[in-house]
């Protein structure tokens, strides 16, 4: 199954890059390779490796099916919607696929909020929410988040003088 999906990824990505690059010249004056020459070769290699992976999966699956037909195995379960969803979930994150999905969504929301409420506040809220979702007690989550924010402020802003995104209404913290 992994080979099938990897093959599909290769073929679809290769086609995408080929289509996106169609307006670029492959060769320029005197026949020298142009800007699209290397991406075109890379896309073809990508599609070819994708096709070979899919072929490998299909030939292996055919051999396994032949073996199953010749075997005495019974009690094969029919695929259900539940088992299909579980396999997708298993593919996404194994046992903790829900944790992974929630974490990614939280991370995306955190990055989105940085521009509006500033880096320090959005980081504090992100850490606090994620820690409490995943079982850390509220007081402990506040303490760990606060310590981390103070450390980041002292190290990056005071010592390294990095300019970090500030809230829309401006920052109250000194530099």
């Amino acid at each position: 199954m992994k080979d099938l999906l990897a093959g599909f990824l290769g073929i679809s990505s290769g086609i995408t890059f080929l289509l996106l690059g169609l307006g670029m010249p492959v060769l320029i004056a005197k026949g020298y390779p142009g800007p699209f020459f290397f991406p075109m070769i890379s896309s073809i290699v990508l599609m070819t490796s994708g096709m070979l992976l899919m072929l490998k999966y299909l030939t292996r699956r055919h051999r396994i099916r032949k073996m199953e037909e010749n075997s005495l195995l019974e009690n094969r379960e029919l695929p259900t919607l539940k088992s299909f969803v579980a396999s997708i979930g298993g593919f996404i994150g194994g046992k903790g696929y829900l944790s992974v999905t929630i974490f990614l969504a939280s991370l995306a929301a955190y990055i989105f909020s940085i521009n509006y409420i500033g880096f320090l506040l959005s980081s504090f809220i992100f850490m606090y929410i994620v820690m409490t979702i995943y079982g850390v007690r509220m007081i402990a989550a506040v303490i760990y988040s606060t310590i981390t924010i103070i450390f980041i402020y002292m190290l990056f802003i005071v010592m390294f003088k990095i300019v970090i995104p500030e809230p829309i209404l401006g920052s109250i913290l000194p530099r």
């Binding site: 940085i114 880096f119 850490m127 970090i164």
Partner: protein
Amino acid sequence: MIFQPHIIVTMFLAALLGVFVGSMPGLTATMATALLIPFTYFMDPLAGLSMIIAMSSVAIFSGDIPAVLLRIPGTPASAALTIDAYYLARRKPLSTLGVDAFCCMLGGLFGTSILIFTAPILADFVTGFSSAEYFWLTLWGLSMAIIISAEDPLKGVLGVAIGLLISSIGLDPVYGYPRYTLGIPDLLSGISFIPALIGFFAIPQLLWLISRPREKYAIKFESNERVFGLIGEVLKKYKLVILRSAGIGTFTGALPGAGADIAAWTSYGVAKRLSRKPDEYGKGSLEGVVAATSANNAAIPGAWIPLLVFGIPGDSITAIVLGALLVHGLRPGPTLFQEQGILVTALFMAFVIANIMILPIGYAAIRLSSHILRVPNNILAPVIAVFCVIGAYAVNNNLFDIWLMLLFGIMGYFMERLGIPIPPIVLAIILGPMVEFNFITTLIKSDLNPIMFFSRPIAACLAVITITTWVLPFILARLRSLR
């Protein structure tokens, strides 16, 4: 130059970070390097690079701590010794770790001595390289990464092709033509290197951690055991094993795409084959532990040989270090040795100091390991995520880079689940522009005559080596199937 107080203190603090990162299963030295790189922008080059050297050297040793005590490798480099070390640790956990620390130090010092003696010689040799030689060298680097890193070479090729296409986003290196920018001004300068690295290496690890949120580790051992009690026996019985393994580790580390983990496995396999007691391997062989640990730390300086001489990273850590070198205006190659000779010498000394540090810091880490391993993943993951965000942002002060980091992180996570290895992708992102630039430059110089790629003797040799690297796996597979 290296003995300035601020550099020694920085190296010491980085070594402590290396202890933490290495000891925690789920955190890797590569991930920690990716997170440390943005810090180096605000330091002088020597302090920044010494910090990474110290952190990576100690982290590779510290990954052995949970391997020995819990049978869980802290870093991939510790996997080779896990089973034997765990068996030994049932009777003598602290002295097993003491042997580990000692052999790591010796292996690292051996690799450093090879680095010191060979790198300047190779740098002189490389002075005469033209675009044709660099083309074959970088192509060979990518080929090795496919063969070494990927269980399935097809997936390795797929990864390299993806990396090459990612590297082509932005302005063309030869003509300056905008490619795949999709009308987004932030993409005109191409994919920012450090956010991509943090995304590929750090985010998948974070997702692995958060899928086991409440996991933490508890260990107990006797406090009266002597940590370095077995050193005498090791030196008496296994000196040749240490020397051989350190050599294997250094050579393996110098191969692009091969890192400390492959060095450790290769050395373990060779030691088993040559051992008088091969049956003990897998059941508590001290010789096996010595072989693996000597090799994995020797690979760290080994990986810096191709990095400093050719600008081709030997492993994932040096792939990230290359970014740091370029940001500081230090271009690897012969000119680095000519123009920044003092800096290069100071870096060699940093390796010596970092490997000597393994012993005292390792001793403290061994004694305190029960406390280090208690931090649960549900606290660790969000804190590290915040550091990833600020690390990605600090490069260009651009929020777009953080979104890129997240995108590559998700891509990296799914690719790992599909069995597509990450190191070839990253190596292709780094080497892609070099391959393209040298290829097109050679064609332009030769007026489209392909013979130019083979006409110079060194280019011809490199071409033969590269083509052999492509063809050899198929030949070997065919020979195996005929038997």
